[in-house]
Every structure is written in C-alpha cells, then in structure tokens.
C-alpha cells in the first residue's frame, strides 16, 4: 500500500516537473536582461567579466547592501560573543614544527593569491568577496596553525574595514557629483582585458576585498577569543 502511494506520488511529481519544463526553450534565453548584459556589457562597463559588471556596475547599489548585511552579521556576532574577560584556552601547547613552519611559509603566499583574485575581479572569475574570503582563510590558517599566535592588531583590522567601506561609498557618491547618479562609471574605461580598465569597477572590488577579508577575519577572531 505504502509503496503504491509513493509510486503514484513520484509519477505525479514527474509529470508536474515535465509539464512545467516543457514551456522553457532548451538552450535559448528567454530573459531580455541577460541578453542585454551579454551584448552591451563590455561596451558599457569595460569589464570582460560580465558577472562583475552586473554585480558592481548594473547592480552596484545591491552590492552595497550585501556588504552592509555582512557588516551587520559581524557586529551581531561580536555582540553575542562579547565577554568582559577573554576566554581561557585550555590547550596552549605549541603545535608541531611541520604545521607551524608550514603556516608561516604559506601565509604571505595566500595573501598574495587573495589579492590577485580581487585585483583581477573585472577580468577573471572571482572578485572582492571571493578574494576577501581567501585572505581571511590565510589568517584562519595562521590562527589555527600556530596556537600561540595572538599578535594581530584588532584596531588595525577595524580601521581597514571602515576605510574600505568608506572608499566604496565615496567612489559611488563621486558618481552623483560627475553625472547625476550613484555609482556612475565616470573613470575612463580603457581597453577591455587590460588590468587598468573598466573605470571604477576594480577600485570598488579592491575595497570590497579588503572589507570582506578584514570582516571575516574579525568574525574568526571573535569566535576564537570567546573560547
């Protein structure tokens, strides 16, 4: 009985999905916006990575919102985890030489890779969010790998975070000044596929990279400090 009911259910679901997919043409785009971005994207924004031109240029305001959401999440987390006394760590034994030396060797190289990802956001896959996450993963590696390492300066992290957020907003506001709307791409667009192209897009993505990197590192730091 149960088998029969479940079989009938599966058949109904299969027919439902089949019918709804029938209307979607395979391999052709129905979306006008997508067609527009693919055709005019490079010409209008100068960025060869169309995803970046949508994220930072066509929908730049939305990205500002996303960055704010991340910022609020970090603030909320540190408020929840806040303690007057720093959490006591039970195991302060120094980690193995392999791990410790390996972390020290890899950390600057990971930072460079993260920077490479967010500097080339308008040319290659990836961008500010991804590059920032890579930078934060480098900090996480050092924090986990060398247990005695508590040296990094929290206030410098906060300053980096605030400054990069400020740069994003100021660059956007200058657009208002130059041509009348927020996040207008007022810098020369250059030749597509060169590093110095696409106007304000690389500047904003570098700011986002710094912001996301310092924010996620702050979250990791909060979690580890609270014990």
């Amino acid at each position: 009985m149960r088998k029969a009911v479940s079989f009938i259910l599966v058949v109904i679901i299969a027919i439902g999905i089949g019918l709804s997919l029938q209307e979607v043409p395979f391999g052709k785009t129905k979306s006008e916006v997508r067609k527009y971005c693919l055709e005019k994207g490079i010409e209008q924004t100068g960025a060869t990575n169309i995803v970046t031109s949508v994220v930072v240029n066509y929908r730049g305001f939305d990205t500002l919102g996303e960055v704010t959401v991340l910022f609020l999440a970090a603030i909320g987390l540190s408020a929840i985890l806040y303690r007057e006394k720093e959490g006591e760590r039970k195991n302060r034994r120094r980690s193995s030489l392999i791990l410790y030396t390996g972390c020290k060797f890899l950390f600057p190289l990971i930072l460079l890779f993260g920077a490479y990802i967010f500097i080339h956001g308008h040319l290659t896959p990836g961008g500010g969010f991804q590059g920032g996450a890579i930078v934060a993963s480098g900090f996480l590696l050092v924090i986990l790998g060398s247990r005695s390492w508590w040296g990094f300066n929290r206030s410098k992290m906060k300053i980096t975070e605030s400054l990069s957020g400020l740069i994003f907003v100021v660059v956007g506001l200058l657009g208002l000044l130059y041509g009348g709307h927020f996040l207008l791409n007022y810098l020369p667009k250059g030749i597509p596929n060169e590093l110095f192209s696409a106007g304000i897009i690389p500047i904003i993505y570098i700011a986002i990279g710094f912001k996301v990197g310092s924010e996620i590192t702050g979250i990791i730091d909060d979690m580890i400090r609270s014990g």
């Binding site: 193995s96 030489l97 392999i98 030396t101 390996g102 020290k104 060797f105 950390f107 600057p108 190289l109 930072l111 460079l112 890779f113 920077a115 490479y116 500097i119 080339h120 390492w149 508590w150 040296g151 990094f152 300066n153 060169e194 590093l195 110095f196």
Partner: protein, 174 residues
C-alpha cells in the same frame, strides 16, 4: 604583526628579500605575462605584502643562493618525482596482491638537517611518497608511519626512508 621585535636589521632584510621574490614569482606564475601593467602592479603588491609580513620569513632558514644549490634544488624536484612514482607502484602492487603483504608500524628516524625549512621539506617529501608518512618532528627526530616496517633500528630506518632525500637536502641547505 608578530609580537617579537628582537630581529636584527640584516635578518629583516634577508627575510624581506626572500619573501618579496617568492611573492613576485608567484604573481608572475598566476598572471603568466610580462605585460607592463601586470608587472608593475605585481611589484607593488609584493612589496606591500612583504613589508607587512616579512617577519614570518625571518627564522625559516633559507640558505644563501648559489648556482650549485639552485642546480641541486632542480635536481631534487626530479628525484622527488621519481621516488613518488616508485613508491606509488610499490604500494599499488601491495594492495592488489591477495595476500596483502603489509606490516605497518611507527619508526623513528634521525636527521642531520638544521634549518626548519629543510626539515619540513624532508618531512613533506616523506609524506608525499606513498607508504611512509611523517607524524611529527621533535628536534632531530622524525616520527614515521611506515606501511612495511623493514627495520626498527634508528640508523637502518634513517638510511632506508630519509637517506634518499637527505643527501640532496644537505647539499642545498648546508
């Protein structure tokens, strides 16, 4: 960033230069072009990261660069690849034989290498070759898990597991 300011100026410059050139070579590999924009941005980025994090590279134990050392380093890469292929075939043949001729156990080997970097290169080379795995390093002793324990005495085990890599590493690092 790292709370230790007892390094001398010479140590700092050496650490900075090693880090700067490692970063710049990595940048060239990532961008794979010598186009002037990428080149100069790479130099600036490498410089900024090297200035802020060069303390990580100070006590790693990089050797001075000489043509002989560089040549042996290139040779070492090929030796390592050859050993990895050999060990792969060895472990694979052990696995597919129905009698499963393994005799796993943990042995201790000794190394005469001094610098941290040389020790972790040795440890990682041993880990990369299938069948042997470095569990830990303490002072000059390496704790190795071995799929087929052929020798338990320290000298003998050192010769079989570490000897094939260490003779090259000693030329490169000492």
């Amino acid at each position: 960033m790292y709370k230790n300011n007892n390094y001398s100026g010479k140590d700092r410059i050496k650490g900075f230069l090693w880090l700067f050139f490692s970063l710049f070579i990595l940048w060239l590999l990532l961008t794979s072009t010598f186009y002037y924009q990428e080149f100069w941005v790479g130099i600036v980025i490498s410089f900024i990261i090297a200035i802020t994090t060069h303390e990580f590279y100070i006590r790693l134990g990089f050797p001075p660069v000489t043509p002989k050392r560089f040549g042996f380093f290139i040779l070492y890469i090929f030796i390592l690849f050859w050993e990895i292929i050999r060990a792969n075939l060895d472990v694979a043949s052990r696995i597919i034989r129905p009698s499963l001729p393994i005799n796993p156990g943990v042995v201790i080997i000794k190394t005469r290498l001094k610098s941290d970097l040389a020790k972790i290169i040795l440890a990682n080379s041993i880990t990369l070759t299938p069948g042997t795995f470095t569990l830990d390093i303490q002072e000059d002793r390496l704790l190795i898990h071995w799929i087929d324990v052929r020798a338990t005495a320290i000298e003998e085990a050192t010769e079989i597991i570490g000897g094939r890599f260490e003779k090259y590493l000693r030329i490169i690092f000492q």
